[in-house]
């Protein structure tokens, strides 16, 4: 991933940093910063605590802890204005500050990403709107990597599928508008899924509104905004609910497995010091000592934050590899490092020696990283070798491959009896439901009862939530396949902004049984060491979501895969202008849930042509792939795999509402309360 100049990632990172610092500068003098939990991590992605200190931030508190003190006159709140509980918490704490403090506070609120009407109403009702300075911090996309932009919306998944709150679609649309305003309109918007369709509609609407708003008509000063981009090829939107199955599987890439075992949040993982050793240098400790939770030394198991991004060269090599070969890579690196180290003995002249000494710091850094990853890999290995992990994986892979799920219910029951963590069990149930169109009602009833007995009766609520999200469903009693046949309706509409061409198919469920064949999801012979298909990320199962992207970007490859001919060398298809959108796969993708669409955003023809002549041979165009509802690390790895193949022709930028995995999907549904709560 060579950073390209002026990349979106750098742009958004700079912009976010600049915006925040300007706002902080506006509050003169020292100040205490109160930040909501779901922003504390993301803020770390673009600004370091030491820099905040330079801008007068004295101490940082978490909004949720509610422990702001009056140590500074200036108090700054940083919270989501679209999340009502946060707005209420801010209002409450301001009132508390005003009551207790014997000094008069100067209070500012920076609303992310915008000031909302409802936040105004709440502050007004609390009677404090006149006492605070309110500003907006338009924080949308944050770069996780050069090729990954994330909105880092933790709740996007539950909001969208459980609470049916489409807030994050609007948020995503706004974020994508940022990209469009930077590069011009996406010439084509391709997508799959009902929410994806809604996002595309919002984008079209916002564009129309922007056209109306852009007061450029008189002279066309900023006609730029009205044109389709010359550097962008398309936007592909994949709705998570089109493919719930993939994230339910255990991710088998290195980064994916770290996420599964210890969890990665905002590019960081909290790892027990017993595994990775204490921090030798001070990468993040400063933040924690002055930051939200004063480092409590009383805790026996201290956690250490490990930064997991491309700044760690070794990690860049490892992250997207199947875990099976991580050990090999680590060994190789270790051996190379050792020989590098040994080179000091062969250094004879002083210049050679000096050269060696100059390289020492980088060796040490690499060494440190090697130690961390070796220990981490060992820890993961310990886990993957365990009996229970193997059982889980076996059941998962059988479900994914389409084996009769009822054969594995015994195994599931055993896992329940052995008290494996609830999310793992629920993932199996949901996976079965997704992959085979629901569970037989009798089986479902039986498993529900056992889970409730094993993990507590509060999980009656958990099941209701899972059913609401359509992650877990009883199979309709009639013949399942008949019901799953999609009923398709094709509509073509055109509007004034350009011609749209989209199909809608009203599949209410993704039929993996069909798609497994038509898109060849199972590739058993895939090589983990030298992968030839994206299926390597799940050791033989290709994520449906990624296959859908391939249907748009790598049509010949997918076709040859399905026909089973000579496994295709990814044929060069210069910017799929010849067969854009879903062309060639319209029938296949109907088996996946929700709307299918491909919209052409046209601008003024003359201007477009003029523009093309000016920008000339822009050979490499960008494809934005937006995962609405979240993306897994395996899917990112798979997209990078595709990006590498497509590198000479196009560049892929991955956008998402956030990083998701099976456990987090389950956590959205799992009831946290229990009957044990007694006075």
């Amino acid at each position: 991933m060579a950073p390209y100049p002026g990349s979106d990632a750098d742009y958004f990172k700079d912009k976010a940093r600049r915006d925040l610092l300007t706002l902080l500068e506006g509050v003169r003098g020292k100040k205490n910063l109160i930040v909501s939990q779901d922003l504390a991590g993301p803020v770390g992605l673009f600004v370091k605590f030491s820099l905040l200190q330079e801008y007068g931030v004295d101490r940082v508190f978490l909004l949720e802890n509610g422990n702001v003190d009056s140590s500074q006159r200036n108090v700054v709140f940083l919270a989501h204005a679209e999340k009502l509980p946060q707005v209420r918490a801010v209002a409450e704490q301001i009132k508390r500050l005003q009551r207790n403090g014997n000094i008069e506070h100067e209070i500012s609120i920076f609303w992310v990403p915008r000031r909302t009407l409802v936040s105004n109403t709440i502050l007004e009702e609390a009677g404090i709107i006149g006492d605070v300075n309110i500003a907006e911090f338009p924080l949308y996309f944050m770069p996780l990597e050069q090729d990954v932009l994330s909105l880092e919306l933790e709740d996007a998944f539950s909001d969208l599928y459980l609470h049916k709150n489409p807030g994050c679609i609007f948020h995503s649309a706004k974020a994508l508008m940022d990209i469009q305003q930077r590069h011009g309109y996406f010439p084509r918007i391709i997508g799959k899924g009902d929410h994806a369709r809604r996002l595309a509609d919002l984008l079209l609407r916002m564009r129309k509104e922007l056209d109306a708003e852009e007061s450029s008509g008189l002279a066309g000063v900023s006609a730029r905004g009205l044109l389709p981009s010359a550097t962008t090829e398309s936007l592909i939107i994949i709705d998570r609910e089109v493919d719930f199955g993939t994230p339910l599987l255990t991710q088998l890439t290195y980064e994916g497995l770290i996420d599964e075992t210890v969890g990665i949040k905002n590019n960081q993982a909290d790892i027990d010091t017993s595994i990775v050793g204490g921090a030798t240098t001070v990468p993040q400790t400063q933040e924690s000592s002055k930051g939200p939770q004063p480092a409590s030394s009383s805790k026996q198991h201290q956690k250490r934050k490990i930064q997991l991004d491309s700044s760690d060269q070794l990690f860049s090599q490892l992250r997207d590899a199947n875990f099976a070969i991580v050990g090999d890579i680590l060994n190789k690196v270790a051996r190379r490092l050792e020989s590098d180290y040994e080179s000091r003995h062969s250094a004879k002249t002083t210049t050679e020696l000096r050269e060696f000494v100059n390289k020492l710091p980088s060796y040490q850094l690499e060494h440190q990283s090697l130690r961390v990853h070796t220990n981490l890999a060992e820890e993961i290995m310990r886990n993957t070798r365990a009996d229970i992990f193997r059982k889980l994986l076996e059941v998962q892979q059988n479900y994914a491959a389409g084996a009769d799920p009822t054969y594995h219910h015994d195994a599931v029951e055993e896992l329940i009896a052995r008290d494996v963590p609830l999310p793992a069990v629920l993932r199996l149930l949901c996976l079965e439901s997704c992959m085979s169109g629901g569970l037989r009602p009798r089986d479902l009833e039986n498993l529900k009862r056992q889970i409730v007995q094993a993990y507590g009766h509060q999980h009656v609520l958990t099941f209701c939530a899972l059913e609401k999200m359509q992650l877990l469903q009883p199979r309709p009693s009639s013949t399942p396949t008949a019901l799953l046949l999609p009923t398709a309706a094709t509509t073509t509409t055109s509007t004034t902004t350009g011609s749209h061409h989209h199909q809608q198919s009203a599949s209410s469920r993704t039929n993996y049984n069909t798609l497994r064949k038509t898109l060849r999801l199972v590739v058993e012979e895939v090589s983990e060491k030298d992968p030839n298909d994206v299926a390597y990320v799940y050791s033989g199962f290709a994520p449906l979501s990624i296959r859908l992207v391939q249907c748009v970007l790598q049509k010949p490859y997918v076709l040859s895969l399905v026909r089973g001919g000579p496994v295709a060398t990814v044929a060069p298809s210069p910017a799929s202008a010849s067969s854009p959108g879903w062309l060639g796969f319209e029938d296949v993708v109907k088996s996946a849930r929700g709307a299918t669409f491909s919209i052409v955003q046209k601008g003024d023809d003359k201007a477009v042509r003029a523009r093309q002549t000016i920008s000339g041979a822009h050979a490499v165009k960008t494809v934005y792939v937006f995962f609405l509802g979240g993306i897994t690390f395996t899917e990112i790895a798979a997209l990078r795999f595709i990006a590498a193949q497509e590198a000479p022709r196009r560049r892929i930028v991955i956008c998402t509402t956030g990083i998701v995995n099976g456990d987090r999907m389950m956590e959205a549904a799992i009831e946290k309360g229990s009957f044990a709560k007694v006075a």
Binding site: R205, E213, S216, E414, H457, L461, F675, A679
Partner: protein, 829 residues
């Protein structure tokens, strides 16, 4: 008309020149006796507000003139608007740089008039203003400070969201004069106030009032220079002092030789002070040199940042420092290249060969000369001299091979705009510097406020600026004055605005609504392309359902929530539910918000919508949050009862599970009572309860629970195995091993026991795993450390390879044994 002498009205003041440029004449009627008026002029050549000073006697004429009012004039004396005033004594009259008129009355009420035509917002100063009364106010471009009669200072620094706040408490005493330093020029970035109290001056900021320890007070006037660097003071003896604003150094002193204290003290730019009496003005430069001007009538001084406007009944003049460029060209005897260049144009017109000669002479510095001429053109108010200077620049340019003409072109554009707005019919005597600071956009805004739409549009087209606001303002005005029927007005407006980008019909509709023309408002709103923009107005118009639909259409959750909040507080619950239940997004949002806020609403909603499971779930959630056991069970019963009518199998299951939950709680309560004297079991899951019972040695009770709750045999066996291992009850495990059959097989026993480290007991279970292949069993034996046994296993399976592997790991007698077995299996040679 003969061109005016460019040197006319120049006045030398120390090293530099000042000039007084007449701009308009015949300003006010004779009737207006300026001395009896409070006058405030908007910055950047803006409007002038006049209010008769009620403390002064005036001649009675007729009823009309005795009525109190605030009159807004342009600088050329055109009456723009008259605001009737009946709100009490005015203590502050000032302008913001957006040309909003601020009127502060004695009781602390602030009225902000925007748009020059009587639209206003108001707010109260608070902070004791009502109690003590406002004494006076001082303004800066975006805020003001009010002095209360108890010497408290109240600051308002933002008019959009006014937030009056107090400065640090001030010392008591008679305030003889005061002034402020705008926030942009202070270190604290907050406004600071100079308060002359008794003999000294205090500098007051939000945190403290600092005594500057002066002895020459009481100061009758204090005035801060535009950049906040200097302060002009009038001492008790009537002398004018200029000191630095930190009071560390005194720059000059001037004695006006007058026993009457001047009426006003202002700054003319940053270098000179203007003091004015009724009909006399002194301009004081550095080192106390001064120029004096005398008038026939009353003269009023309106400060700008780059000079002052002097207004009398007859004239409007602009007094300012002559810039270096102008001085270089016009100063008597100037030999600067630019001056020569200007002369050359004259010569050229006379076809004199000296023109070329001159040019050749200044050739090396010709580019600078051209620049200077261009800049000087901007400084001139007289078009004759503007043209001359530009002509000179153009001539100089033509001689040069390479010259970037951008500035020249821009200057001609700017001068055209300036000429248009300086016309007496418009009356904006804005200087070049002021125009640069004001920006073209805001100049256009000012034109729009004066209803000069045509000129505004012409200028915006000329400068390629957005014109949407002009159209919207025009349309709003049309709505206000039009008397025709709604259809016609709407048609007219839509026709006129057709094809114009960026038109906000919402704003026009808002005006119509404010005018009480609801129907027209609705019609206009239909032309608004942005759904979101329509919502607030629709709510005002009580078009609730349309508002909700538009909000949903916009996709903006905030907007939907806003409408919902509004509707919920307004409508009876039943109709609120009726409104939302046909709109899935709305009900989903109500549900989500109620979940964290208002569970009663949630119950009502689910009841109304006939969603028993959801309703029951709310109760279940409440049961979880309940801390008291009887109430927990009660809620559970309620939850279960809600489901009792349904035949739906999934509902039936849920109901069963709920009753099972209460049953379990009852059992656990009993267990806690019997076996532990604290709550140990309550709230555990069934599996955990059984596990803990076995671990604590209550196997019988565990078994009873198993049958009571119909727990599958396999599950129970697993629980027993894990609990016994956790208890390290090897005896019991060995006993179990004597049973013939286990529903979960024996391998788990082997694994769990081995995992707990008891290899001996684990090995007991190896032979019982009859269905495992021999290789695995070999491995199992090895893990228990029993190589010989492993060998036997391999021998039975006739697996030589396995035996050979074992050979390497074996020692002592086992090794010999394995050798023997290998030999036995190997065919003899």
């Amino acid at each position: 008309m003969a061109p005016s002498n460019p040197l006319a009205n120049w006045e030398r003041l120390g090293d530099s020149f000042y000039r007084k440029v007449p701009i308009y004449d015949a300003i006010f009627d004779e009737d207006i006796e300026l001395e009896n008026y409070i006058i405030a002029g908007a910055p950047y050549g803006g409007a002038i507000a006049l209010h008769r000073d009620e403390s002064k006697p005036y001649r009675f004429r007729d009823a009309q003139t005795t009525k109190s009012s605030i009159d807004i004039y342009s600088c050329s004396g055109k009456l723009i608007n008259r605001l009737n005033w009946e709100y009490g004594t005015i203590r502050g009259l000032g302008w913001s740089d957006k040309e909003e008129l601020l009127v502060i009355t004695e009781d602390g009420t602030v009225r902000r008039y925007f748009g020059l035509h009587g639209d206003f917002t108001s707010f109260s100063l608070g902070n004791g203003a009502e109690e003590y009364g406002v004494r006076g106010c001082r303004f800066w471009t975006s805020g003001f400070v009010a002095l209360l009669s108890n010497n408290q200072l109240v600051v308002v620094s933002n008019y959009d969201e006014p937030r009056p706040r107090l400065l640090a408490p001030c010392p008591e005493g008679e305030v003889s004069s005061w002034s402020l330093i705008p926030p942009a020029y202070t270190l604290s970035r907050s406004v600071e106030v100079l308060l002359a109290v008794d003999k000294t001056v205090y500098l007051v900021d939000p945190t403290e009032a600092e005594d500057k320890v002066l002895q020459n007070g009481p100061f009758k006037h204090a005035s801060v220079s535009p950049t906040g660097r200097f302060v002009a003071l009038i001492t008790a003896e009537g002398k004018v002092w200029v000191v630095s604003s930190d009071f560390q150094s005194k720059y000059s002193e001037y004695d006006p030789e007058s026993r009457v204290t001047p009426r006003t003290v202002d700054w003319c730019g940053d270098d000179a002070v203007v003091i004015a009496w009724e009909d006399e003005v002194h301009l004081i430069g550095p080192n106390g040199v001064a120029a004096r001007y005398y008038y026939d009538g009353t003269v009023q001084v309106i400060p700008e940042f780059d000079g002052v406007r002097l207004i009398t009944n007859d004239t409007c003049e602009f007094l300012h420092k002559v810039t270096d460029v102008t001085e270089a060209i016009f100063r008597l005897g100037s030999t600067s290249p630019a001056s020569v260049l200007l002369d050359s144009v004259d010569l050229l017109e006379k076809k004199s060969p000296k023109a070329d000669e001159n040019i050749q002479r200044i050739r090396p510095s010709l580019p600078e000369a051209v620049d200077t001429c261009v800049k000087a053109a901007g400084q001139e108010f007289d078009t004759h001299w503007q043209k001359r200077l530009l002509k000179a620049a153009s001539f100089g340019k033509s001689v040069l091979d390479l010259y970037n003409s951008d500035e020249f072109v821009e200057m001609t554009e700017k001068l055209r705009v300036l000429k248009a707005v300086r016309d007496y019919q418009i009356g904006l005597p804005i200087s070049y510097e002021q125009y640069m600071r004001l920006t073209p956009e805001r100049l256009i805004e000012r034109l729009v406020n004066r209803h000069e739409y045509l000129l505004a549009i012409r200028i915006s087209e000329y400068l390629e600026l957005a014109a949407d606001k002009i159209y919207v303002h025009w349309a709003s005005q049309k709505v206000k004055v039009a008397t025709g029927d709604d259809e016609a007005v709407c048609k007219l407006i839509v026709q006129r605005l057709d094809g114009k980008p960026g038109i906000s019909f919402e704003l026009i509709a808002q005006t119509a609504y404010d005018e009480g023309r609801v129907h027209l408002a609705t019609q206009l709103l239909n032309h608004e392309p942005r759904a979101g923009k329509q919502v607030p107005l629709l709510l005002n118009m009580e078009e609730d359902e349309i508002a909700l639909d538009k909000a949903i259409e916009s996709g903006d959750v905030d907007l939907v929530n806003y409408v919902l909040l509004h509707l919920k507080s307004k409508l009876p619950l039943a109709s609120f539910f009726r409104t939302i239940n046909t709109r899935p997004m709305a009900s989903a949002l109500v549900e989500t918000n109620a979940r964290s806020q208002d569970t009663e609403l949630l119950k009502d909603l689910f009841y109304q919508d006939d969603r028993p499971i959801d309703g029951s779930n709310v109760l279940l959630l409440e049961a979880l949050n309940e801390t008291d056991l009887p109430r927990k069970t009660e809620k559970l019963h309620l939850a279960s009862r809600l489901l009792s009518d349904s035949k739906d199998p999934s509902v039936v299951l849920q109901q069963k599970l709920l009753s099972e939950a209460s049953q379990l709680l009852k059992v656990q309560e009993a267990l806690d009572k019997d076996l532990a004297d604290r709550t140990e079991f309550l709230g555990l899951s069934l599996n955990e309860t059984i596990f803990r019972l076995i671990r604590s040695g209550y196997g019988k009770r565990a078994q009873k629970l198993q049958s009571e709750f119909r727990m599958p045999e396999k599950t129970f066996w697993w629980l027993r195995l894990r609990a016994l291992v956790a208890k390290r009850d090897w005896g019991e495990l060995e006993d179990i091993g004597k049973i013939k059959k286990s529903p979960i097989g024996w391998e788990p026993f082997y694994n769990e026991i081995l995992g707990a480290g008891n290899t001996k007991l684990a090995s007991v279970f190896v032979p019982k795993c009859t269905n495992l292949p021999a290789e695995e069993k070999v491995e199992m034996w090895v893990k228990c450390g029993m190589i010989a046994k492993a060998g036997e296993e391999a021998f039975r399976a006739k697996n030589v390879n396995a035996l050979e592997l074992l050979q390497t790991r074996a020692s002592g007698p086992a090794a010999a044994e394995i050798d023997r077995m290998i030999n036995q299996l190997r065919p003899r040679k």
